[in-house]
């Protein structure tokens, strides 16, 4: 069934809303933006063939966006976990240095210099 250009343009708004959600979840939407602009060009050109291509592209974009959103959520979760664990390790390391720093330093100093002979 032939789709009119007006009907296709009306589908772009809800598609952008989905893209917006995918971007907020941390997904890379740059390739989708390129494809949406291709859709706009095809709709503007008009003609049955171009409108059919635009309709197919919209369906393809809709599928891709949900995958990008899922990937974005897992990437963001991984980033939060990685940052949290690293900051926790650095904090613990900081406390160890504050509490045992002097002892560690002088122990190392003694071990490296215990064979030294003092001559007068």
């Amino acid at each position: 069934m032939a789709v009119s250009s007006d009907e296709l343009v009306l589908q772009l708004g809800p598609l952008y809303e989905e893209l917006n959600r995918a971007e907020k979840s941390g997904g890379n939407v740059a390739p989708i933006v390129v494809e949406l602009n291709q859709c706009v060009t095809l709709i503007k050109l008009g003609g049955e063939e171009n409108l059919r291509k635009a309709s197919n592209l919209i369906a393809l974009i809709r599928n891709k966006i949900s995958l990008i959103q899922e990937a974005g959520i897992s990437q963001t979760t991984y980033l939060y976990q990685k940052t949290g664990i690293t900051l926790l390790i650095l904090t613990v390391l900081g406390f160890i240095i504050l509490i045992y720093g002097s002892r560690i330093y002088w122990t190392l100093w003694y071990r490296t210099k215990r064979n030294w002979v003092v001559e007068s």
């Binding site: 809303e17 940052t83 504050l98």
Partner: protein
């Protein structure tokens, strides 16, 4: 004391490493003043050589510059209108639409779009108005944002 100096240096190194670790996360939540830009460029794509007097039916070639500083991908609509001189409009003009351009831009991206059109009726002191709209997901519709203007006479 020498061990105090070592302690300070070690803590400074740890703080620097912490800042480097947290930067990718902090950079995603930095809030900027969201805004979009629209500008009209002449036939050569620069801010000059704007047409001021054209003949009826004569092709007019211009470029529209759109800049996205919204901090996210944006769906734009530019509505080009012919507004008669003397119309006291400050926002959306109630006038004849000669073209509509839809465009998607990534956050931080900008683009120049070539537009070609002609005017069939002779009129003096027309305001060629380029209204910029952004799609607002909260209202599921386009919202007016800004505009650019060009004055011309058609003989």
């Amino acid at each position: 004391m020498i061990d105090d100096e070592i302690k300070i240096i070690s803590i400074a190194v740890i703080l620097a490493m912490g800042a480097i670790t947290a930067y990718p996360l902090l950079s995603t939540i930095v809030i900027i003043e969201p805004h979009s830009e629209i500008g009209v460029l002449g036939p050569k794509g620069i801010i000059s050589d704007y047409p001021t007097n054209v003949k009826t039916g004569e092709p007019i070639n211009l470029f529209i510059y759109i800049g996205n500083n919204e901090g996210r991908a944006q769906y734009y609509r530019i509505i080009i209108k012919l507004v008669p001189d003397g119309s006291n409009n400050t926002g959306v003009a109630n006038a004849e639409t000669i073209d509509t351009v839809d465009l998607f831009l990534m956050g931080g991206e900008n683009k120049e779009i070539s537009i070609n059109f002609s005017i069939s009726q002779p009129k003096n002191n027309l305001q060629l108005t380029f209204e910029l709209y952004t799609y607002n997901p909260e209202i599921h519709s386009f919202a007016y944002r800004n505009r650019a203007k060009l004055w011309l006479s058609v003989t």
